[in-house]
Symmetry: C2
């Protein structure tokens, strides 16, 4: 089999730096973890917070700390530092080749969508962002790695898209319509969701938006691991 | 403009874990760094070394430490720990949006290839791997971010490909033939180089092989950052 991961990210309109941070790290013993954090506000302050959270989590994961413990440690560090005045959402999605499962750790009020065969389920149990209090725990969900499994995670820029015009996005319905049309690649799914959210915001996103899609496919290619990154840049003429 | 990055990686034949580690991190203030290390041997020991090196470097880069200083720090840490008995190559490729340059730090005897318009140059000045002695310094090369610039970095699995059959790979010629044929995407270039190396090893690579390609293109798409990962997995039936 093959796990494919796609990420698409935009900044709030007219903001040069996204408050969302996403990184992918190798797990000791094989597998990968994707870590996504969204700091409380946008701009530089939020970026510093989300980078700190992601940095803390990937450092611990690299040492072999389990996902739930890494999330709790990052929350405690943030609470100790900011006394609850600054919070951050966190999602960790890990492909764990010891247990042959995908482990989701969620400290994000925005739901995670799980699609398989004919079903689309939302993981939307109450959960607290990091840094809100002592003893913040993530909601952990463990799923067998099976062909067809698709997981969709996003920051609250998706939830808030369209609110300015009074047309908030129905994320579940949007996902259903994208998946019914075709058998989308994770890239197509992430791009379609992002494009729909941006269009609801009249092409001027009111918040940073990050979309992360994991999809398990029957393996058809070779044994190489691959990664691609696309980074649009605006070079200032001096 | 847009910077596109492609990575393709395989393990030594019959080895479950690559000794090469590659990670991409966001730089504070914008931009990205790609960090690639190859530990001295293959298998678990090499993986632990290359992960330690990459972890050290990305932690320092995230704090705003400059690339050359991060490489030196990782070398000193490795030398202090292993007294020169264990070494690791290191390449850092950074898209620095402060200076609008691509900064290459190289502690890898394998050359780096720089392609632009009609030229293919090899960066092949002598340089030492990390951990060989005190005062190891990287060779630093700084390049303006310009459309058409293509940078090709790899671990020594590419250099050693074909040696078993007495047909070592001419990497420069291989790159030239791939580039002349077409205007390859970075993914096509990385995949072609990797495929050629594996074929020279009779489809049983004698070493871990990682290929990293950065390419600057005139920007044609939107302002979203994108990342894709493909991870082939073999689930053990229990």
């Amino acid at each position: 089999m093959e796990v494919r991961i796609a990420v698409a990210k935009v900044n709030q309109y007219a903001d040069s730096e996204s408050g969302d941070t996403l990184e992918v790290v190798e797990r000791p013993g094989g597998g990968l973890s994707v870590v996504l954090a969204d700091g409380q506000t946008s701009g530089k302050g939020a970026k510093a917070i989300s980078m700190m959270v992601v940095r803390k989590v990937i450092g611990l994961l690299a040492e072999g700390v389990r996902d739930g413990a890494a999330a709790r440690a990052a929350s405690d560090a943030l609470f100790t530092d900011k006394q609850g005045k600054v919070i951050s959402t966190l999602n960790i999605a890990s492909i764990d080749l010891h247990s042959n499962t995908i482990v989701l750790a969620r400290n994000n009020p925005a739901p995670t969508f799980i699609c398989s065969e004919d079903r689309i389920d939302a993981l939307s149990e109450d959960c607290e962002p990091l840094g809100t209090s002592r003893n913040v725990r993530p909601v952990i969900t463990e799923l067998a790695i099976e062909p067809g499994l698709t997981i969709i995670i996003f920051t609250d820029g998706i939830i808030h898209a369209g609110e300015r015009r009074g047309q908030p996005m129905n994320v579940g319905e949007t996902i259903r319509s994208i998946i019914e049309d075709q058998d989308p690649t994770p890239e197509q799914l992430a791009d379609s969701l992002l494009a729909h959210a941006i269009s609801l915001d009249d092409n001027r996103p009111t918040d940073d938006i990050s979309v992360l899609v994991l999809k398990v496919s029957p393996h058809t290619g070779d044994d190489a691991r691959r990664m691609s990154v696309r980074l649009p840049i605006h070079v200032n003429s001096s």
